[in-house]
Symmetry: C2
Subunit: 575 residues, 2 copies
C-alpha cells in the first residue's frame, strides 16, 4: 500500500473517564502519535500539565488549519497559529522562508501538515513550546480574497449561512467538543447504572399525544413522478388495444376448442393452449398498465396512502417514549437518545424542527425515583464538563457567558429543590416585586417566565416541580390519589428554564382507559400501548431531556441554531 509509515505509532491511550480533551496525557515523555493519521494531536502537547515542555527536542508532525499567520523578519520567517480541533488552544509553528513559500502558508484557513522539532518557546512569550518546521508535508491553500469566513469577528447569525465552514471557527468547534462530551457523558451515566440503550424508531405510525405537529414521510410524490415518466415513455394501452387483446383470446380459445373437437394430437392441443395462455397474460398486463394514472393516487377524494411505502401514513417521531416503554416493560431499565421532530412554524431562538432527546425509562420505579435519576443525570453532565471540557468552558466564559462555569459548579454540587406544582403556584402568587405577563393560576401551565423566576430568583438553584394538574398533562401520566393531579415533574434550571419533563406512567389498565376517553382520544391507535398494561403491567416512569437545551444551559449560547451542527427550521435545511 501507498504511504510512508510515521516514525512511531504509539496508541493514544487516554482513560475513558478523562475523555478526549483531558488535560493530562499521562504517558511520560513520549510523544503520542495519532493512531489513524500521520500526526500528533495538538491537545496531547499543549494540554500536558507542563504545557509540552517534557516533549522538547522531539520530532513530530502536526496538522491543522491556520488561525493566524504572520510573516516576520522582513519575510525571512513566519509564525502560524495552528489549530486541529482537538482542543481550543493553538500550537505556535515557526517556518523559515528556506523551508517553504511563506505567502501561501499565512492566510487564515490554510491547511498544513508539517514536520519539525518541538522547541522551548523564548521566555516572556505566551507559549510554552513551539514547533520549528523542517518540512512542509502538505498545504491546502486559501485565497483570502474569496474565503467566506475570514479572520474578522463574525456573528453567529452570519455563520448560519455557512454551516459547512463554520466548524472552523473557535466558537462552533468549542460547542462541538462540548456537545460531544455531553453525548458521551450521557451514555456513560446510563451504562454505569445498568440502562440499555434502545434505538426507538424515527419513522413512526404512532403519535405521542400532544407533542405537536408532525412531518410526514412519504414516497407518494416520487412514485407519482416515476409513473408519469413511465407513461410518457410508454403510453398506456388504448381501449382499442385492450379490445384487440380480448379478440385474440377469443380466437385462440376457439382454436383450442376446434383442435379438441377434431381430436388433434396432444402436442397440437398443448401448443394451442400455450398460445391461449400467452394471450391471456398479455391482456392482464395491458389491463394492469391501463390502471396506471399520473398524479397523486386518490380514493374518495383523499390521498390513497395504500400506495405509499408503508401502505399507510407515516411520520417522523416526536418522542421515543411510548416505544421505549415496550422495552422498559421487558428489560426494566432503558434509555433512548435520538433525533426527534416538530413541524411547528416557530421562528424563536428556542425551537428547532429537528433536535435530539435523551429519554430514560425505568421499571419498578415511581416519581421519586424519576426525580432522583433526573437530578443525578444533570449533575453528572455538569461535573463531566468541569472535568473534561474546562478549556472550552473557559472559552465560553470569556466570550459568551461570564457565569457559565459557576452555573455548572452550582448545579453539580447543590441538591435540587423539590416543590409541588401547588406550592409553586402559591410562591408565584405571592411575588410582589415582579409583574408576570402570563397569569399565575392553579390549573394553568407555568410559563417560561414563571419557571425561570422559580429557579433563578426564588430558589437560585435547580428546582423540580411535581404533581401537575391532570388537565394540562398527557393521558399516560399516572393519576394521583387526589384525582386532580398527575405524577408529572419538570426540572427547571437557571438560564433555560425547563430542561427535563417526566412522569410516572399510568400502569393501571382501567385508569388509563378512562383517561383516554376523558381526553377524547381514539383508543384503537393505543391498543399496543394498553397491552403493556394488560399483560404483566409494572410501575414505571421516565423523562425526556432536550439535548440542545442542555447545551444552551452549559455554554450560555442564546440561539439553539448555534448548538446543533445542522439546524433545521422553517424555510431552512442547508446541506
Amino acid at each position: 500500500m501507498a504511504g510512508d509509515e510515521p516514525p512511531t505509532q504509539e496508541v493514544a491511550e487516554m482513560s475513558v473517564s478523562e475523555g478526549v480533551s483531558a488535560a493530562s496525557t499521562g504517558s511520560g515523555e513520549v510523544v503520542q502519535w495519532s493512531r489513524y493519521s500521520r500526526r500528533v494531536l495538538i491537545t496531547t502537547i499543549v494540554n500536558r500539565p507542563d504545557g509540552g515542555l517534557g516533549l522538547v527536542g522531539q520530532k513530530i508532525s502536526v496538522g491543522g488549519w491556520v488561525k493566524t499567520g504572520r510573516e516576520q523578519g522582513k519575510g525571512t520567517f513566519a509564525f502560524l497559529e495552528l489549530n486541529d480541533g482537538s482542543c481550543p488552544a493553538n500550537l505556535q509553528v515557526l517556518v523559515d522562508a528556506s523551508v517553504a513559500s511563506l505567502g501561501q502558508l499565512v492566510p487564515t484557513g490554510t491547511c498544513v501538515l508539517v514536520e519539525g522539532e518541538l522547541k522551548k518557546a523564548p521566555d516572556g512569550t505566551k507559549q510554552t513550546v513551539e514547533l520549528k518546521v523542517e518540512k512542509v508535508l502538505e498545504v491546502g491553500t486559501v485565497d483570502p480574497a474569496k474565503y467566506p469566513i475570514p479572520k474578522t469577528k463574525l456573528t453567529l447569525e452570519f455563520l448560519r449561512d455557512h454551516v459547512h465552514l463554520r466548524p472552523r471557527t473557535n466558537t462552533i468547534s468549542a460547542i462541538a467538543r462540548i456537545r460531544n462530551a455531553l453525548a458521551y457523558a450521557t451514555h456513560t451515566f446510563f451504562q454505569k447504572n445498568g440502562f440499555l440503550y434502545v434505538h426507538t424508531p424515527i419513522i413512526t405510525t404512532s403519535d405521542c399525544e400532544g407533542a405537536g405537529e408532525m412531518f410526514q414521510v412519504t414516497t407518494i410524490f416520487s412514485e407519482a413522478e416515476k409513473i408519469e415518466r413511465e407513461l410518457k415513455q410508454n403510453p398506456p394501452p388504448s381501449e382499442e388495444d385492450i379490445e384487440a387483446a380480448k379478440l385474440l383470446i377469443k380466437e385462440k380459445g376457439e382454436k383450442v376448442a376446434h383442435l379438441k373437437a377434431m381430436k388433434s394430437s396432444k402436442e397440437e392441443i398443448a401448443s394451442g393452449v400455450a398460445e391461449l395462455t400467452k394471450a391471456k397474460e398479455n391482456l392482464a398486463k395491458l389491463e394492469e398498465r391501463a390502471k396506471l394514472k399520473a398524479g397523486i393516487p386518490q380514493k374518495d377524494g383523499k390521498v390513497d396512502y395504500s400506495y405509499d411505502f408503508f401502505a399507510r401514513q407515516a411520520f417522523l417521531t416526536v418522542s421515543g417514549q411510548l416505544q421505549v416503554e415496550t422495552f422498559a416493560c421487558a428489560v426494566s431499565s432503558v434509555y433512548t437518545f435520538g433525533p426527534t421532530f416538530r413541524a411547528e412554524h416557530s421562528h424563536t431562538s428556542r425551537h428547532l424542527a429537528e433536535f435530539w432527546m435523551v429519554e430514560p425509562e425505568i421499571a419498578f420505579a415511581d416519581l421519586e425515583d424519576d426525580m432522583n435519576c433526573a437530578e443525578d443525570y444533570v449533575q453528572f453532565l455538569c461535573q463531566w464538563l468541569l472535568d473534561n471540557c474546562l478549556d472550552d468552558m473557559q472559552f465560553m466564559v470569556k466570550n459568551y457567558d461570564k457565569g457559565a462555569i459557576d452555573r455548572l459548579k452550582l448545579v453539580a454540587s447543590t441538591p435540587f429543590e423539590r416543590v409541588s406544582y401547588t406550592e409553586a403556584i402559591e410562591l408565584l402568587k405571592n411575588v410582589t416585586e415582579k409583574k408576570f405577563e402570563n397569569k399565575v393560576e392553579w390549573g394553568v401551565d407555568l410559563a417560561s417566565e414563571h419557571e425561570r423566576y422559580l429557579t433563578e430568583v426564588i430558589f437560585k438553584k435547580p428546582v423540580i416541580v411535581y404533581n401537575y394538574p391532570k388537565t394540562i398533562k398527557a393521558f399516560y401520566m399516572r393519576l394521583n390519589d387526589d384525582s386532580k393531579t398527575v405524577a408529572a415533574m419538570d426540572v427547571l434550571v437557571p438560564k433555560v428554564g425547563e430542561l427535563i419533563g417526566g412522569s410516572q406512567r399510568e400502569e393501571r389498565l382501567d385508569v388509563i382507559e378512562r383517561r383516554i376517553r376523558e381526553m377524547d382520544l381514539p383508543v384503537e391507535p393505543y391498543e399496543w400501548y394498553l397491552d403493556l398494561r394488560r399483560y404483566g403491567t409494572v410501575k414505571h416512569c421516565g423523562f425526556g431531556l432536550g439535548f440542545e437545551r442542555m447545551i444552551l444551559f452549559a455554554t450560555g449560547i442564546d440561539n439553539i441554531r448555534d448548538v446543533i451542527p445542522f439546524p433545521r427550521y422553517p424555510g431552512r435545511a442547508d446541506l
Copy 2:
C-alpha cells in the same frame, strides 16, 4: 413524596469498561440496590463469580417477569423463574401459599416485585441461590388464555407481528443487550481515539450520490388538509365580497378627500383616514383569503414546494458522510452514528428502510489509515462482546449459531487480509470448485457470493479489498495514480460479507470537479462540498459500518428485521 425508602441504597458501581452485564460485581458481600428503582438487579446476584452464594442471608427485593411458574407440593408453594432483563439468566423465586395467591403468580408473563431472603439452593439443583419470598409487593397479572406470546416456542417471524411484546422473549432481549453493548463499544472506541461525535442531519436537502432512493419529508399534505378544513368552516370571500370591499375603500377615500377639501378639523380628517386604512386592510385580508385553494399547491403542473416546511424538497438522509466531512475538515477526527434511510422496495432479509450507520471521518489520513481504523474498530467490537456479553453470546451459540463465539474470537485476534480488487478478481477467476452465479470480471462489482467466498473459503478470515475500478464507485472517492481505480476499500467478514465500505476522499478540487462532470452529475448541489476543497483542503478518509450488519455478524441471526427494535420495510412500520 410518596413511597418507602428501600432498606439500603448502594450505587451500582460497575466499571465502565466492564459494562452492564459484567460477570463480577466486585463489591464484596453487600447486595447492590439499583439506584433508581426499589430492587436488586438479578445480574448482580447470579453473575457474581460465586453465583450469589456470598449474598445468602440478605434481605432483598427483585422485580421481573415470570418466564416459567409452577405450583408444587399440592399447591402449597410455587417456583417462579424470574427475569428482569439485566442478563439472560433467571433468578429462582420460591413463594409459599401463605404469602400470596399462587394462581395469579405462575402464568408466563406475570410481573412481580417481591421481597425476601436469599437462600442457598438445595444441593443437586441447577441454581446456586434462590429467593424465599416473604412479601409480594406488586403483581401485574396475565390472562394466559389471552397473552399473545405464551411460553411455547415462537418463531422470530411470528414475533415480528408483536414488536411491542417481543422484547420479553429470551432472544429479542439478548439481542437488545448485544446491540446496546455494540453501541457503547462504538462510542468508547472513537472517544478513546480522540474522535468527536457529530450529529449529522436526518432531514437533508443533499443527496449522497448513488446511495439509493430517498424518503421525502413534507408538511404539504397536512397544510392542504388544514386549508381545506379552514375553507369549509369559513368559505373564501366571493367576488361580490371583494367588490363590496373595494367600493367601501372608494367611499372612505372620497370622504377623506371631502373632509380635506372642506378643511375639516385635524381630528375629523384623522378619523376619516383611520377608517380608510381599516377598509384597505380589510380588502387585503379578503384578497389573501381568496387566494387560498384546497388541494396540493401547484405551479406549472408540478408540486409547488415553496409552500413546504423548508420551502424546498427535503428528504431523509441516506448517509451522514458528506455532512460529517465538513467537521473532519475543521476538527480533524470525527464520527457520526445515527439512523439512515432507503426507500427501496426490497423484501430481503438483509435490507431495512430505516437502519443505523457508524461513519468515522479522519483528516490528515489516507486509505491505509482508513483500513487500520476499520480493522481496529471491528476487532474492538468483537473483543468487547467477548468481554461483556459472553452469557448472551452463549445463548446465541446454543439457540442460533454454533460458530458465533468462535467467529468473534477469530476476528478479534486475526490480522485482516488485505488484497487489491485486481488481486481479488484474479483469485476468484481461478476458482474451479465452485460455479458463481454472477460473472467475475475486472470492472464489475463483486457480488455477495464473491465477497463471502473470499472471506469464508479463500482466506477464512476477514478480508479488506481495496482500489476498486472508478467506474463502479462514487465521485468523491480519490482517484489513484493509475487513473483507473479509486482509493476505496470494503471490509468483508464471514457470515455477512460486506460489513464496511470506505474510501479516501478526493481532496483535489480540479480532479473532483472533473469526476463530477464525467459522471454527469450537476455541480451546483455540491458547491458547498467543493468549498471544502477550495479552502484549506486536506487529505481525508472515512468509512461506514452498517450497525445491523454487525449485529447479524455477531449473533448469527439471519433476518435483519430481528436485530433492530422496530423494523421498517415496505408495507410495515408498526408503532
